[in-house]
């Protein structure tokens, strides 16, 4: 199953899970990246990292390393 860091800029996908139990994964869940939520990768910063996401009607920026913790639908 692909992870969010491999989703192209401009694409929209659905979150399957954030399976980790580390503090960063928990923070991502608390920020609303829960299973079933639609997320769009809106932009990437000029040097390719971090990413700008849109989910639950708001914009969130996370680094690719953190995006790799998020499993998304194909």
């Amino acid at each position: 199953m692909p992870n969010l860091d491999h989703v192209e800029v401009g694409e929209t996908t659905r979150i399957v899970d954030v399976p980790g139990d580390d503090p960063v994964s928990l923070r991502l869940l608390e920020m609303g990246l829960t299973p079933g939520v639609t997320v769009a990768v809106v932009a990437a910063a000029p040097l390719g990292d971090p990413l700008e996401l849109e989910l639950r009607g708001y914009r969130l920026s996370i680094r690719r390393r953190e995006a790799a913790l998020v499993m998304v639908a194909t």
Binding site: V24, T34, V42, Y58
Partner: protein, 657 residues
Amino acid sequence: MTERAGREQPLTVALVGNPNTGKSTLFTALAGIPTRIGNYPGVTVEEKVGRFTHRGRPIDLVDLPGTYSLRAQSPDEKVVSDVLAGTMAGLPRPDCIVVVVDATNLARNLFLASQMLELGRPTVVALTLSDVATDRGIGIDSDGLARRLGCPVVPVVAPARIGIDSLRDRILAAAESAAPAAPDLASHLSAVSGSRPAAARDAIARYAWIDTVVADAVRRSGPPRRLLADRIDSILTHRLWGTLAFALVMLALFTSIFRLAAPAMDLISAGVDSAAAWAESILPEGPLRSLLVNGVLAGVGGVVVFVPQIALLFLFVAALEGCGYLARAAFLMDRLLAGVGLSGKSFIPLLSSFACAIPGIMAARTIENRRDRLLTILVAPLMSCSARLPVYLLFCGAFVPDVACGLSWLRLPAVVLAALYALGVVVAAAVAFGLSRTLFRGPPQPFVMELPGWRWPQPAVVLERVREAAGSFLKNAGTLILAMSVVIWALGTYPKPVLPDAPALSDAERQGEALRQSFLGRAGRLIEPAVRPLGWDWRLGCAALASFPAREVVLGTLGVIYNLGDVDPGAEEGTTLLVRRLKAATWDGTDRKVFTLPVALSLMVFFALCAQCASTLVIIGKETGSWIWPVVTFTYMTTLAWLAAFVVYQVGTWLLL
């Protein structure tokens, strides 16, 4: 309950909410200017309390730091949960909790709100930005929301003061009534696999519950509308246009703290000078006059002179934060700074430090992450500030040969000047990289940052930030900096010189002799073995020592120590005179010149890297809440400065001989 028995007893109301929800605007609308600002005991989390009276009842409004969750992970979140539980020293348990909920971002804001409902305290939801939500086609049925949450929901538009009185009424009423029931997460919890950690299960179940609330309370009119504000975002985070706009904004910020502050700073200096002249005219010559003019007045001037830069920088930062650009700037710069262990939010504090490290270090308050903030503060003084520039200019102009470097217009002094600026940046990057992999090693620091919606900054909130920054600087750091300058004055003045009976001694020679015989001068001689390897004689060592409190005094000290009297570095003839005298200076008892190119370079490199600014160290102590960090900063910077000056002098001498 007994705590509510007395009518005069103020109600304690806690204001909580996610960051970027208009919480500060709401605080100002409810309580005006805070009556108490400080830090919570033991942590550098700001405590802000405002008092207002509604229908004869005094109310203390406690503004808690913006937080996304009550999991008590960061010091901020720990403070929020302690205050709400009533376990924070000096604060009674709140009689009522006001949760700020951003109507444009309902689901994520309800996460914290639902945690509040579980605390068993009377709760009121203040629904902010509902006007913006309506513009975006998001209609919120606030009565329906109130029914689902089990607590009052008051739509407010804080800048226009809509709903403020009704919110105050609700607070009074809620404080007298029962707490709402906790949200029923049980059915949602059972749907999540039991093998997950409790916090993950809770988050997933909580959002599942929130989704049902949002489905009930939100009426979308048609597809989500793209506002102008949303389109601005696609330009300002664009690879090319975003970078260009960023460069322009930063250029404006930097020039303004560098140039716009200058007239105000000149005015302050002139004011202090005329006060000094006045004091000199009415007081008889003696220790009291010297203390007042050279100790106290110079100290007061040295403190107040920072205020224009601090005020301007915070005006910019608060306005950029208010409109949502601060987060975009961090987004754009993150990759660059993450490589050396910092984050995008370090950029503005570091850039500001090129003008002056003091406002820069204070601007690091915008970095929520403790580790990133501390690391930024520790390397900020390495940026070449404006006080180093006169030193660079004097020595580059006097001792670096004016020859072309490859291109006819590219002169060597300018190249050296640029190299000194670059040196600070490179060393800062290396130090940050090194520290983040040793002393500050730990779990990877998340960069999970909301990019808030674009909106107009609220003038009241911006001005409050400026007032607060300038006020806390004057109150907390100012007194210490003042005390320090009096101590330095005493070290440079005592013990009183024993002057030889030679009547031919000029005033300038007398001043020079006094400094040489003072504690400071003796210390300069004492450290001569330490500065010899840098190519310096004891006078230079003494001047460097005297400039530890503030590097800008070095030119004046050099003037005094080379018997020139007080040199005004701003005055043309003073500077040329100083240059001529420095060029003529020889080692004691020989005719060997003190200043050669390697000596000038080693001196400039030393000044580029050394922590010669007592005010910066005081600010580091205040902002980190610990005296360890100024000591660490001073030690590592002085060590690096000495080593670099040593290498430059030795290699330079070897190359030139």
